[in-house]
């Protein structure tokens, strides 16, 4: 474990951070990133993700533990010597300089000659399709354009590591989606290692190689997006990523990767044990709305069915959402595709629902 820890390109080794000496903002952070990875730190505000980024950039010092960049400890290296590119939340483009001057800045402070600078600036601007805008000032550009320039500026001095602190937070939805694609594309083409901070889970899921879900100063789960969504390891991750139905009860039987859970109202359901080990344990089961099945024919014959009452039927165009009362829970959501063979429901209707056992994860209570 210890070897793999210090093996990566970027390594956090038992890092702790406290601002006031009383509470820890970051508690025992361990993280190892291989070169070229696009890693996203995702979490609610105050979860410690931005602090981690700032420690990596050098604007905050770790109270304890070590941060390694390319096998070298960087705790005592000032930010300007770390050679890490950074994109800030509000772009932080220098308003008194033109776009070209902004890009020239990191090259000038590195003592690069004029002709060499110009070549690099042109290439960097072309890379983000902003070649025409070299003589404009940041205030003359739209949010999306500023975002691109900020990206070009962080990349122009060819850093091996780029940090992005909620870079798309100020853009509207459509532009954000477009930029997500552009950023990942660029990062992969250039082979840059990227640490990306966001509180937007869609962004995290669509962009990253791996996502570190932060809560309460710890990484709750570090996994590729698919695992994170399909196989959350604890109820925080299950709740935080995507939409989720939760039901509480006690494990009745465990048989390998199957178990049955008796909910608090007596209903018995099928589940897959994740954080439970023996019968009698309290658990919170989690199931995605799109994995809830209302047609018993599609389920295994021995599957447990659950009674449900339709409370609300919401037409959303491509999908239908049905709010159900299940085992005393009024917020149970079922979601299914709008297709010819799918029925519609009306409030008050009594139906039976079920699911594949592996879609229903029995997590920590």
């Amino acid at each position: 474990m210890s070897e793999t820890r210090t093996d990566g390109f970027v390594v956090f080794d038992r890092v702790q951070k406290s601002y006031d000496g009383e509470t820890l903002v970051v508690k025992d952070l361990n993280l190892s990133m291989p070169k070229g990875e696009f890693l996203t730190m995702l979490g609610p505000s105050g979860s410690g993700k931005t602090t981690c980024l700032m420690m990596l950039a050098g604007f905050e010092t770790a109270t304890h533990g070590e941060i390694l960049l390319d096998h070298k400890p960087i705790n005592n290296i000032p930010p300007h010597k770390r050679g890490i590119g950074m994109v800030f939340q509000n772009y932080a483009l220098f308003p008194h300089m033109t776009i070209a001057e902004n890009l020239s800045f990191p090259l000038e402070v590195r003592g690069m000659g004029k002709s060499e600078r110009e070549g690099k600036i042109r290439r960097a601007l072309d890379m983000v399709q902003m070649g025409e805008f070299g003589n404009r000032r940041p205030a003359q550009l739209s949010g999306g354009q500023q975002q691109r320039v900020a990206l070009a500026r962080a990349l122009v001095f060819e850093p091996e590591l780029v940090l992005m602190d909620e870079p798309l937070g100020a853009l509207d939805k459509q532009l954000r989606e477009h930029m997500q694609f552009e950023i990942t594309n660029l990062a992969h083409t250039l082979g840059i290692t990227t640490v990306y901070v966001t509180h937007d889970q869609t962004e995290a899921l669509t962009m990253s190689d791996r996502v570190a879900v932060f809560n309460d100063g710890r990484i709750q789960q570090l996994a590729p997006p698919e695992d994170l969504y399909e196989r959350p390891e604890n109820s925080f991750v299950a709740q935080f990523i995507g939409e989720n139905n939760k039901l509480e009860g006690v494990v009745e039987t465990i048989n390998g990767d199957r178990c049955t859970v008796r909910l608090d109202d007596g209903t018995v359901i099928d589940a897959k044990p994740v954080n439970v080990t023996k019968a009698g344990e309290r658990t919170r089961v989690s199931i995605r709305p799109e994995r809830v099945e209302s047609n018993p024919d599609r389920l295994a014959s021995d599957a447990h069915l659950v009674d449900a009452e339709v409370l609300e039927f919401i037409y959303m165009g491509d999908t239908f959402r049905v709010r159900l009362r299940v085992a005393g829970n009024d917020d149970f959501i079922m979601k299914y595709r709008n297709a010819q063979d799918q029925g519609r429901y009306s409030p008050g209707q009594k139906i039976q629902i079920g699911w594949q056992a592996e879609d229903c994860r029995a997590l920590d209570a």
Binding site: P79, H80, G85, A92, F94
Partner: protein
């Protein structure tokens, strides 16, 4: 087709009333209310600011007094050439006598004399003597008047007297402006005043460079304080801000006087230096009644006016700019100088222009701690006003000061752009 229709058609409301008219009526009430709110201020500005300035401008060129009191003389002098080496003809002296007789009757002779005395010393005495003489003269029977006047005072027989009288008889006159820039036209031609009477240009220059220096020192001292204010925690910032503002709650007179206590020869600083042994008791430093005292006291007094605009601008500079600069590889100094400093320039501009303009017009402090060598132009203006009573010159000096500040403001606007200046 339809677009040309809408162009020619005036927009109107449903009742057919033009929309503009309707809108105007709707907004009138609002406008009236706004006007009512600012009415006291408006009245105050007109009465207390615009009217005095107008009066000052008028006085600086007004020379009615000569032509009004001596109309015949002024008319008679019209044909006389100032460069002529002969005295004006007998008719001019006759006109002088006639004018003076009326003036004596109206008790206005000395008003005229005082006006001329500003330009030509000794004129009052000449008029006084002439007054006595003209009382005895009968305009119809006596003569020749030239000899009689010269007998009363030999000044009337000198070319200089008549040249001055002719030169300063016009209304409006540029005479006051000439003397405000150390020039005279007593000889009928514009010439510099003799060195021992030239003081204004020197004072204007001194006021300018000392104000500039005070401004610069204020910036030097104020910039770090403002930076600190803008970058410490709110709690400490408020405390510091109170310390910056504390002097505002003390009278200017008290602050200036306290500098007197500190700087004078028997003052706190000298006593300390003598006590330490750095300065001999019989060789105490002269830090007051000279330029040094003025610069020290005014820098301290005007410092808040530098700090506050700087602070308000610096507070709006997000810390992410400096961080960005550092992440791009700039060390602390480069990040400050190339990224932070340029963004604080509007604050520097605002502070500098505020302090400079205030310093240029400062009066109390140079008066109390300046002595003759630390005197500003405003002290000279005050002197001209209450000692000499030369309102015309006061007006001219004041106008020049005002115009200089306006020109400075204009140049500043051209170079820095007044829109870039933030006061808060």
């Amino acid at each position: 087709m339809s677009s040309s229709d809408t162009k020619t058609d005036m927009l109107s409301t449903h009742d057919g009333e033009p929309l503009k008219k309707s809108l105007g009526r709707a907004l009138r009430r609002q406008k009236m209310r706004a006007l009512l709110l600012i009415a006291p201020l408006l009245a105050f500005i007109i009465l207390g600011f615009l009217m005095p300035i107008g009066s000052m401008l008028t006085r600086s060129v007004d020379n009615e007094v000569v032509e009004e009191i001596m109309p015949r003389t002024v008319a008679a002098l019209e044909d006389w050439d100032v460069d002529s080496t002969e005295l004006p003809p007998e008719e001019t002296f006759r006109a002088l006598v006639a004018d003076l007789q009326v003036a004596v009757e109206n008790r206005t002779a000395l008003t005229f004399a005082r006006r001329m005395n500003y330009e030509l010393a000794g004129f009052t005495t000449m008029v006084r003597r002439a007054q006595r003489e003209v009382r005895r003269i009968d305009l119809e029977t006596d003569g020749p008047f030239r000899d009689m006047m010269i007998e009363s005072h030999e000044g009337w027989g000198e070319l200089a007297t008549w040249r001055a009288l002719k030169a300063y008889s016009g209304d409006p006159t540029i005479g006051y402006y000439l003397s405000a820039v150390d020039r005279t036209m007593v000889s009928g031609h514009i010439e510099p005043l003799p060195d021992d009477r030239s003081i204004h240009l020197m004072l204007f220059w001194r006021t300018a460079w000392m104000s500039g220096l005070i401004c610069f020192l204020g910036l030097l001292l104020g910039y770090p304080i403002a930076f600190l204010l803008a970058n410490v925690k709110e709690r400490y910032a408020n405390l510091l801000l109170i310390m910056v503002l504390l002097p505002f709650w003390t009278s200017l007179l008290v602050r200036t006087s306290s500098w007197k206590v500190l700087l004078q020869e028997q003052g706190v600083i000298n006593q300390m230096l003598v006590w330490i042994g750095l300065v001999a008791d019989d060789n105490r430093l002269t830090m007051i009644n000279n330029k040094f005292g003025v610069i020290v006291a005014m820098t301290q007094i005007l410092l808040p006016f530098m700090i506050l605009p700087l602070y308000s601008v610096m507070k709006t500079i997000p810390p992410s700019y400096v961080r960005a600069a550092k992440s791009l590889g700039a060390n602390d100094w480069t990040a400050f100088w190339r990224v932070y400093f340029p963004q604080s320039v509007p604050g520097i501009g605002a502070g500098a222009i505020l302090v400079f303009i205030m310093a240029v017009g400062y009066y109390i402090t140079p008066e109390l701690v300046g002595g003759p060598s630390g005197m500003f132009i405003s002290n000279r203006i005050a002197h001209q006003w209450y000692v000499s009573g030369n309102w015309g010159l006061v007006g001219a000096l004041g106008t020049i000061l005002l115009v200089a500040v306006l020109v400075l403001y204009w140049v500043y606007d051209r170079v820095v752009g007044i829109d870039n200046v933030k006061l808060g």
